[in-house]
């Protein structure tokens, strides 16, 4: 059985925290105690082996993945509370909560009184069908750019659905291609994009433009119209600083 004090000294010695005097005392002890000597030797060898484990290189795409994730987060819109989707200017205030609770209580009491006064309804006498009117936003194509030149092939389609503007990009190239979308932040807000092969694309998001660079750009970018005014989306495709496509596309609300 090794004394607690000696165990502590062994660990301190391994960590280089033992004084010269402590080291000499430990040396004396170890020379007379085989069990402590074995423990000391094992722990020392183990600690040495741990420090010798070589560090490994992360994949070359790690930095790109981090920077892309940050770029997207920088301009991602803050999630809205459920009520704010219907009343954008709504801010929670406790005094309204009291008014709401009183109103709700009065409503429950009144409804209960009315229901109790009404004659009972036999559900077997009720017939007919219930129709739920599902109003869906129609997606309409505004502009499709077909590219098949300078080693680049694919399409860029700009579509709208209500207040949403979508840019479906599918481009392949042997070399790096840059897709730049410039917009007026007064009228359009970048909302996000679907799954993108981040190891093949570098994303750069600023308040008024977005740039995707890579040899395979395959994603859908979503923008939200902030106003009803007409707005322009400037789509540019570049390779080796040369322009492959350059168009100003109106994404205003169709009358």
């Amino acid at each position: 059985m090794i004394e607690e004090k000696i165990l502590e000294m062994i660990h301190k010695e391994i960590d280089g925290e033992l004084t010269d005097r402590g080291r000499s005392l430990l040396g004396d002890y170890l020379s007379h105690h085989a069990e402590a000597q074995t423990l000391h030797r094992d722990l020392k060898k183990m600690s040495h082996a741990l420090t010798q484990v070589p560090s490994e290189e992360p994949s070359a795409n790690l930095k790109k993945g981090i920077m892309n994730a940050i770029a997207l987060k920088r301009y991602a819109p803050q999630p809205k509370r459920f009520a704010q989707l219907f009343f954008p200017g709504l801010k929670f205030n406790f005094k309204y909560a009291y008014v709401f609770v009183y109103g709700l209580a009065i409503g429950i009491i009144t409804t209960t009184a009315i229901v109790n006064l009404k004659p009972g309804v036999n559900t077997s006498d009720v017939s007919g069908s219930l129709v739920i009117n599902q109003a869906t936003e129609q997606t309409s194509l505004i502009r499709k750019i077909d590219l098949n030149k300078s080693n680049i092939s694919g399409t860029i389609a700009i579509k709208t659905a209500g207040a949403l503007v979508m840019s479906e990009i599918n481009l392949q190239s042997k070399n790096q291609v840059d897709v730049r979308l410039e917009f007026d932040p007064q009228h359009l807000a970048f909302q996000g994009l679907n799954d993108l092969q981040t190891e093949r694309v570098q994303i750069n998001v600023e308040s008024n433009y977005l740039r995707l660079s890579g040899d395979l750009v395959d994603c859908i970018l979503a923008f939200q119209r902030k106003t009803d005014s007409e707005s322009l989306l400037h789509v540019e495709v570049l390779q080796n600083s040369g322009s492959i496509a350059d168009e100003q596309i109106s994404v205003g609300v169709s009358k």
Partner: protein, 180 residues
């Protein structure tokens, strides 16, 4: 050109220069990745953890206290992220042996190499809090004080955890018939 220090880069990041954060990522990605790798023993998971750590660091840069070293702060995030990951997935029980193999260098002696691999496997059998102190002390070379800041526990706790961790690691090796 002198290398800009972390504080200057953080100042630039806070004023909106994203490029400065890229320098920080380049500077620390290898250390953070290796810390996560030793904690979770899987390359893909270590990359996911590293990405999450840097994104969180960027989002919380304004709360960084310049009294502390940036690398200790980001290590603190990395260790917490790794611990949470392990606790959620209970990865220690699920991993098959030899998920990772250590690259061999010409000066390696065979028995040392085998011991290192056995040690890494034994490390995964240690309780996550003990694994963390071993990694911070022996792989990263942090002092008791720095480990105390990173793990947010008193220095006394660091010492006792480290002592217990080393002895537990030795016991695991002995129980598995490893000759140290």
């Amino acid at each position: 050109m002198t290398e800009r220090d972390d504080a200057a880069l953080i100042g630039e990041c806070l004023s909106g220069v994203l490029k400065s954060f890229e320098i920080i990522v380049e500077r620390y990605q290898k250390q953070i990745y290796n810390l996560a790798l030793r904690m979770v023993h899987n390359h893909d998971d270590a990359e996911d953890i590293s990405q999450s750590v840097f994104v969180k660091a960027y989002e919380n840069l304004a709360s960084f206290n310049p009294r502390f070293k940036f690398f200790s702060w980001i290590y603190r995030m990395a260790i917490n992220e790794s611990i949470n990951f392990v606790k959620q997935r209970k990865i220690g029980e699920e991993l098959p042996p030899n998920v990772l193999s250590i690259e061999r260098t010409p000066e390696d002696n065979y028995s040392e190499l085998v011991l290192r691999e056995q040690l890494l496997e034994a490390l995964m059998k240690l309780d996550i809090d003990y694994r963390a102190v071993i990694i911070l002390r022996h792989f990263e070379g942090f002092s008791y004080g720095e480990i105390s800041y990173i793990l947010d526990v008193p220095e006394k706790t660091v010492k006792s955890r480290l002592f217990t961790a080393r002895q537990s690691l030795r016991d695991i090796l002995i129980n598995e018939g490893v000759v140290i």
